[in-house]
């Protein structure tokens, strides 16, 4: 029993068409809003106080990014490969409206070994502590590591500090910090 956008047709009597019409009304309501495990999905139900508003929105993987041609019309939120993307209208002049990732596959809030989250644009950001001279390998591994910021963590905050990147690994350097000294760092990489 599914919704049929091609009924009622002309010839059959109302007695025949009545169940078809009823099916459409019923199916529209159940597809518009569904409940599973106490969670309402997609829209608030018809005849509810919030009817027509959204509840838990399920976004299907659309595989390819939608096209937006109208320069002033709308922005699109959608799912490609399990991540939420956003695409804004194309500008009248200037750059194209390249799709932009809003999320990343993982977030590490455990701090083992480092904390990790993401920035819009498919960037991964890492925070933690690093010992002078000890290479730090990041997880998840970025395709490219583009910036490392570090500061003295305690004690003499005038220690000099530099960073060297090699692939997805970085090392903090200092001339005057003692061996074993820990610096705080923030690193940003590309997914």
């Amino acid at each position: 029993m599914t919704y049929d956008p091609t009924i009622p047709q002309g010839e059959p009597s109302p007695a025949v068409q009545q169940p078809e019409v009823q099916t459409n009304f019923s199916q529209f309501a159940s597809v518009f809003s569904s409940t599973s495990g106490g969670v309402i999905y997609n829209h608030s139900a018809l005849n509810s106080a919030n009817q027509g508003k959204h509840e838990a929105i399920l976004l299907q993987d659309v595989v390819t990014h939608p096209t937006i041609l109208n320069p002033n019309g709308y922005i699109a939120l959608y799912n490609v490969a399990g991540q939420i993307n956003v695409r804004i209208p194309v500008f009248n002049r200037g750059p194209p409206n390249v799709p932009m990732g809003l999320t990343a596959p993982t977030v590490n809030t455990s701090g083992t070994p480092n904390y990790q989250s993401f920035l819009a644009g498919s960037y991964i950001v890492y925070w933690g502590k690093a010992v002078k001279g000890t290479p730090i390998s990041l997880s998840p591994v970025p395709s490219s590591l583009v910036s490392v910021i570090a500061l003295p963590n305690s004690g003499n905050n005038l220690y000099d500090i530099g960073a060297s990147i090699s692939g997805s690994t970085f090392t903090l350097n200092s001339v005057n910090a003692p061996g074993g000294y820990q610096f705080s760092f923030m690193a940003i990489g590309l997914q």
Binding site: Y3, V31, Q60, Y74, I161
Partner: protein
Amino acid sequence: MSIPINYNPNIPRPKDKFNTSQPQMLQNFASLYAAFAKNHVPLDATNNPGNHNVIELTNQTEQFQTSAGEISAYSKTLPSKALALFLRYQGNQSEFSYTNYQTQIFKTPNVNSTYVTYLPGNMICYFGECGNVGYVELKPFISKNLVTAIFTRLGTNLSGNPPDITLEKDSDGIIQKVLIDKFFYFFFILTNA
């Protein structure tokens, strides 16, 4: 884009003959189907009918009202002219832009490059690695105020002091460059637009 004027919420009327209301109901069912399929898996799909394929948010000019227990998400134009996703928390709290300028066009993984993204609330983040050219260009040029600028020297030659910075702005007060001394640096610069 043409505006469909097919759905009629006022049919059938009590004294209409069936051969009058039948095509009207057919038109309404077809219109509901087409409108719903614009952002959703179709009503008659075998799998996942009613889920969203995409959420298209049309440009709004006013803040949405939010009751207790609601968050509204909508699109609105930023001062930079970019259309952005805005959020407003429950109870009509202050709205803020969740997204900002598109950023991935600037994601060119080259040495001496500047990358850009944003944080919710109209904050712009520039980061990357600058060569010993004496400045970081804040492109796209939409930043009005420097919030913070942090630099870390690149490599093992650490002579000299942390950089003194000055700003180069255009006639509209938009920051073009953060001027620094000529060393190689990693940087993280936060502005608002």
